[in-house]
């Protein structure tokens, strides 16, 4: 009896059901807190025509950047891209559709998607190209644009610790977009550094309650650093 046990045995099982043409929401900021092994599994499966929702698109050879190599991404919603040469090339050749989305709006689109709110008004982007063609309303003398929520066929998330029931904690700023992504997938898959027994995590310290999580897997991570800055 599996009950609330969300563990899966392999990465193959973790991404079971992903198909070409699907929308995938990914947690992570830069290379921090990215579900690196779940991304690698998407690459291995070779599915394409994907719509990816993520703040960034990795770097050449790591993170979401590896999905560019075989042109698996058709469209991406992100706030900042082009740290990778391959991405720039595909963008300039119109091989990938980029929907630039303000970072806070992107986070809120995921949050709203997971919370059953179809759209929301925000002042962010009003009067800019981002607001073009969007409904505008005035509240208390200020202008706001209507932004729609996002739900993914899959959400892929990187956590720190989880229990077997899928309650997840994140570590430091590797939290970033992961909690919102976790709520916004029809199927939410979380990979973590450690899976513990129910009761071992303090309930009030859980960031993502297990109700949002469908599958959980323990992996090992490279956790590459994008900009290494140190003081002597």
């Amino acid at each position: 009896m599996a009950g609330f046990d969300k563990r899966v045995a392999s990465y193959e099982e973790a991404m079971e059901g992903i198909e070409s043409g699907m929308t995938v929401i990914a947690g992570g900021f830069g290379l921090c807190g990215i579900p690196e092994n779940l991304i690698a599994e998407i690459k291995r499966r070779g599915v394409d025509d994907l719509t990816v929702v993520s703040n960034n698109c990795g770097v050449d050879g790591f993170g979401l950047g590896i999905l560019l190599e075989d042109r698996q991404i058709r469209k991406i919603l992100a706030s900042y891209v082009g740290e990778n040469a391959l991405f720039e090339k595909q963008m300039l050749n119109d091989e990938i559709e980029v929907v630039l989305t303000p970072q806070g709006t992107l986070a809120e689109k995921m949050r709203a998607g997971g919370a059953g709110i179809p759209a929301f008004y925000t002042a962010t982007g009003y009067g800019t190209p981002i607001g073009d063609g969007k409904e505008v309303r005035e509240f208390n003398g200020r202008h706001y644009i209507l932004e729609e929520a996002i739900v993914g066929d899959f959400a892929i998330v990187k956590g720190w610790k989880a229990d077997r029931y899928g309650n997840v904690m994140y570590r430091h700023t590797a939290q970033n977009f992961n909690p919102m992504a976790a709520t916004a997938g029809k199927i939410t898959v979380v990979e973590v550094e450690e899976i513990v027994e129910p009761g071992e995590l303090e309930p009030s310290q859980i960031h993502t309650p297990g109700i949002y999580v469908d599958r959980i897997i323990q992996g090992s991570f490279e956790k590459r650093i994008e900009k290494r800055t140190v003081r002597s």
Partner: protein, 221 residues
């Protein structure tokens, strides 16, 4: 003499107040953290989800799970809090951040700012800048007053696509410190040795020049 990047950061730092929560953008704004006046405590917000950004880590402290919005490895200072990006932008959009400092390509006399997109050039994205300018009531823009070819960046109307509309109220350039009010730039201070005439010449937007425009002073380094 035009201000150096360090002098610009020093001048902005004088606008910090004890107890301020502050978001510093990339570039000159980041340098402001080096000039926080003695006796003043400010908490730096990094929009990926950190309130209370500390110094860069030592080799021993280096942690791939601990970065700032510029993706640099950082530390958290005592009293810091870490949270999700949605929470972070709730703080920003909700107007809870006391001061935002960010760079720009152009600003205009109506407080519009253009900082993220030059048509025809590669566009990497706005990151959190649109949320920051929409949410903050108190923004200082740091920028050069004119391009290398002498073309003003303080305009009657921004020519580049906007980052935000009607949201900038203070600008520090390498030549001057100005406020924006009622459709005009108001010259408040000038860089040491820079004449009012030069600033007038390099400001394309409407400029109000008071009778007395003090010169900025800087401690000898």
């Amino acid at each position: 003499m035009a201000l150096t990047r360090e002098q610009m950061a020093q001048r902005v730092a004088r606008e910090l107040e004890d107890g301020f929560y502050v978001n510093l953008g990339i570039g000159i704004p980041t340098l402001v953290a080096n000039y926080i006046p003695d006796g003043i405590d400010v908490m730096l917000q990094s929009e990926n989800g950190l309130l209370g950004m500390g110094r860069y880590p030592t080799e021993d402290e280096l942690d791939s799970d601990m970065i700032n919005a510029g993706k640099e490895t950082v530390t958290a200072r005592p009293g810091a809090a870490i949270f999700s990006s949605a929470e972070s932008f709730a703080m920003i959009r909700g107007g809870h951040v006391d001061l935002t400092v960010l760079g720009a390509f152009e600003v205009d006399q109506h407080g519009n700012i253009a900082s993220w997109m030059i048509p025809g050039k590669l566009i990497k994205g706005m990151g959190g800048a649109m949320d920051l300018v929409a949410g903050a009531e108190n923004i200082i823009c740091t920028m050069t007053h004119a391009s290398k070819h002498g073309e003003s960046k303080l305009l009657e109307k921004c020519e580049l696509p906007l980052t935000g509309a009607g949201c900038i109220n203070r600008v520090l350039t390498d030549l001057a410190y100005l406020e924006i009010k009622d459709g005009a730039f108001i010259l408040k201070e000038r860089a040491p040795g820079v004449s009012v005439e030069e600033i007038m010449e390099k400001t394309a937007g409407k400029l109000i020049v008071p009778d007395h425009v003090p010169e900025m002073t800087f401690d000898a380094e």
